[in-house]
Symmetry: C2
């Protein structure tokens, strides 16, 4: 087998999702994933640190993306406007990833360990958003609140997207959740 | 030792918190807690199912309280007003519990396992709130969003209370966080 494998990462991801769904995440090994993908275990570990990274590798990418996009928002944007711009841009990260996201969610919901890890990733995202808002000059308390609420909107919008038929992009659902938040809290 | 022990539960809680802080949660056993409290292990297990319940038993009580209070809110109250009333009432649950809450938080933050459990408890609270709002006639999507946002406000207000000097009650911090949420999202 040559070192270069066409679309090895995509094949490994596909094989991993199939096996996690067929046998459960806990029961699946990296060796089985590689075999199903027609690749070596070594190739698996060139692409993923472990079998969890197939599911959670994207979370770190997303966190970095949130931090960069928030940092780049216009100086004059308030915390929620900066978050709104970031949520809008985040849709692009998930273009063509609806099927992956849907199947990933199904696997995560089936495993208490993975559900906890997913909650951890969201908590980490919220902390990163709060830190970034603080660096933008938002006071710590306000930054923390905006980050928690922004993460809640992301979670809700994301789950709605996954529950949809996949024809509309993620940013539609995130924008909708944000508009509903404004309506929910409008005292005027 | 007689079966009846004055304030056994309080003594066990006190001993557990001390030991978790001195030696770490993972390293502490129920037997050690009982010994420190001057009680038998059997007495410990009459009060707590395991050593985690000393820290998390209150979470189920709180969830029930949220469900009951939300259910009892005036029929005309919108989702966020019903949540606001519940947050206000929740302060009473924590009266005289500032020191416990502060030390509990310190223990939880020191343990990845406990942090994950805490996130789980908050996720469970959010689901219970969403279900209750749905039973009040709020459409599922709106109920889910309001519950996530309400839980975020609770988390932020609670953490601010724990970070305070304990002279002001929890409901002050929850009310403040809710007012800030309204200001944050006000487009008018």
């Amino acid at each position: 087998m040559s070192r270069w494998e066409p679309n090895a990462r995509g094949r490994l991801e596909r094989a991993a999702l199939d096996l996690y769904r067929e046998h459960g995440f806990e029961q699946t090994t990296a060796a089985q994933i590689a075999e199903r993908a027609g690749l070596t275990e070594r190739t698996f570990f060139r692409h993923y640190a472990d079998k969890r990274e197939v599911l959670f590798g994207g979370a770190s990418v997303m966190e970095e993306f949130f931090v960069e996009t928030l940092t780049g928002a216009p100086e004059t944007a308030g915390p929620l406007d900066a978050i709104a711009a970031t949520l809008h841009a985040a849709g692009a990260l998930f273009e063509g990833r609806y099927e992956f996201a849907r199947q990933r969610q199904e696997i995560i919901m089936a495993s208490p360990e993975l559900r906890e890890r997913e909650l951890n990733k969201l908590a980490s995202l919220s902390r990163a958003v709060a830190d970034t808002l603080e660096r933008r000059g938002v006071p710590a308390d306000a930054a923390h609140l905006a980050a928690e609420v922004g993460t809640a909107v992301f979670k809700v919008g994301f789950e709605r997207w996954i529950g949809s038929d996949g024809t509309r992009p993620l940013e539609d659902f995130l924008g909708e959740a944000l508009r509903e938040l404004r309506a929910l809290t409008a005292g005027c």
